[in-house]
Symmetry: C2
Subunit: 137 residues, 2 copies
């Protein structure tokens, strides 16, 4: 029997602006996974790193924003070739700065929550966002 | 305005036996929170510790069992006096050993999933377990 893949933790941020819109980032066409689909800012928790610190770091790297984490948005699960990933999503408020995306993404958009079902979201982000919108109703 | 409380990460295990029953632990009457209510094994992720390592350690400390994590069970949120806690619950399979509880608990029980709604569970564990059972239907 093959050895089970290890578990890793990733974090993602559902950053809301004053109008309740969500910041989405379009994954680069060179991404290994979900290329061209829309994603939330976030990434892997590094070894020894606290999940909240990791998420604020990823937000800064991928959006240029400083943000404040405000609560739990949801959780999802993904199987990648070498790792089973738990994706923990937190709500966040944008505090300072303008959006400046990195090379990992091609575009950004502030999307009203009611429009989210129509966007081409990566599967785990879709699961998290639609669950979040449903729970708020 | 008071400073927002920091976020912490806790992990809990939904350990299943061969018959699909879940291992519950009864919290000690001296517990600071949820005393006397039924809980899942688990606890805080220590600084610098990986969440999966932390959970296997807590399982050993609180139940004497060696277990294998198998997937995601759910997530919940709790506000304690000094910290906002994200509770990440994973499914696990008991592999070796007999249950030996620690001083933190008074009793243990293997509970069929259909009986869980009748047990006096701590609020976040109730949210996680009933969500898990509902999703499997």
């Amino acid at each position: 029997m093959p050895k089970a893949k290890p578990f890793g933790l990733s974090v993602k941020a559902l950053i809301l602006d004053g109008a309740g819109r969500v910041l989405l980032l379009k994954r680069s066409r060179e991404s290994h996974f979900y290329c061209g689909q829309w994603d939330l800012p976030g990434g892997k928790v590094d070894k020894g790193e606290d999940f909240a610190t990791a998420l604020l770091r990823e937000i800064r790297e991928e959006t240029g924003l400083r943000a404040k984490l405000t609560g739990l948005a949801g959780v999802a699960y993904d199987k990648l070739p070498k790792v089973r990933v738990i994706i923990l999503a937190m709500t966040a408020q944008r505090s300072v700065g303008r959006v400046r995306i990195s090379d990992e993404h091609e575009e950004f958009a502030w999307v009203p929550q009611k429009d989210l079902p129509r966007w081409d979201l990566s599967p785990q982000v879709k699961y998290i966002l639609l669950g979040f919108v449903r729970k708020k109703k």
